[in-house]
Symmetry: C2
Subunit: 242 residues, 2 copies
Amino acid sequence: MWCQSCREEYEEDDAGTCKECYEEASETEEELKREIEDLKSKVSFLRLNSPLDLPSPDLFLHAISSPPPPQHDPLTSAPAVPAHRAVLISRSPVFRAMLENEMEESRSGMIKINDVSYDVLRSFVHYLYTAEVLLDEHMACELLILAEKYQVKHLKAFCEKFMTSKVNNENAIANFAFAHRHNSKQLLDAALSLITDNMATLTVREEYKELVEKDPRLVVEIYEAYLTRQVNTAARDIVLPH
Amino acid sequence: MWCQSCREEYEEDDAGTCKECYEEASETEEELKREIEDLKSKVSFLRLNSPLDLPSPDLFLHAISSPPPPQHDPLTSAPAVPAHRAVLISRSPVFRAMLENEMEESRSGMIKINDVSYDVLRSFVHYLYTAEVLLDEHMACELLILAEKYQVKHLKAFCEKFMTSKVNNENAIANFAFAHRHNSKQLLDAALSLITDNMATLTVREEYKELVEKDPRLVVEIYEAYLTRQVNTAARDIVLPH
């Protein structure tokens, strides 16, 4: 009889997976759990307080929704989000370039963020301090766009993972197009494989018709993926003659 | 025959630890490793740059070694370490109290740190930003003192763990006394058990004689621990009559 783990033969009268392998496995698990505890305490140590709870901000971020409401100075339309140069520079190479060189934002201490709501901007800045955010599908989508724009890789991956977990038949085409615009490989693959799973209903969908209008190249990509898949399946099913 | 893990009986012809348990164990390991990867990326996201690489510090920390070198203004004797209120407040409740209330340090933007060298202070502040430090035994000891003073629990635990790993017969008594002064339970237990392992040579040691002079109560504690240990051993060795 054989140990499932190390594949060594072991004595009939010994318990199944040889003792060594079994004990080794348990030790590994213990070590991994210890490492997780250490990392968790490091995370909570490194987490900053919310910028709203911290003194002496030296920067203010303004959400500029576009188009701005009529008869409205967009800068006065929503409160500014306070922040600290030191934090933004540590989190984003884009903010670093903006604030380390003598650009207007650096001199004025005011950064305008276009096409974003105040709530999304506040969540974005909060994440830069705490690595925490409560996501729904809209927020994940908006934050992913900001994270990509300011090259906050960690937040982008976090949003992408969340959106990937929410892909379904209803939103697959929209997510496929979104993933394309924002270079989200993981989301793109998930959406595409779901679409190619349901080709029968594809062409009747509204989103499909819109996509043919707006961006036919993406539709071509869907059909190419479908074709590749069929070819591979066929190849697998070929039975070689004896 | 029995599965070592779930203790259920399994088929003779099945491999040792029942497949379920074996596969479950492997999955757990995979999940733990994924969690570790996530936490590591979170740590590297939350880690700030070194304060020396960051702009617009709004605080300066000065190491005041005591006694100060003769004919020397301690403030000018070593360069100041730049820092940011927002970071110090997030890391230490002591700095928070100091900087949120209108104390002199808050008004002047200058914090004097007594009885510490410039190198130690710089490492301390660097750790507050990055959670990184290269320890040797001297540095661990100095940083533990600072970490306790400013209630930076994470750093204190880190130094204590390092010092505990370095306890040996030569430094056990010194570490025992140090652990007492700075409430380091883990280090205290390690040192004490090593001391009680070597009672035969205890009284001839120089550090022992010094301790009897300086702090006899600690010596009493050593003897009490030794006594308890002997009593327990004796209790274990008692053989009950039939």
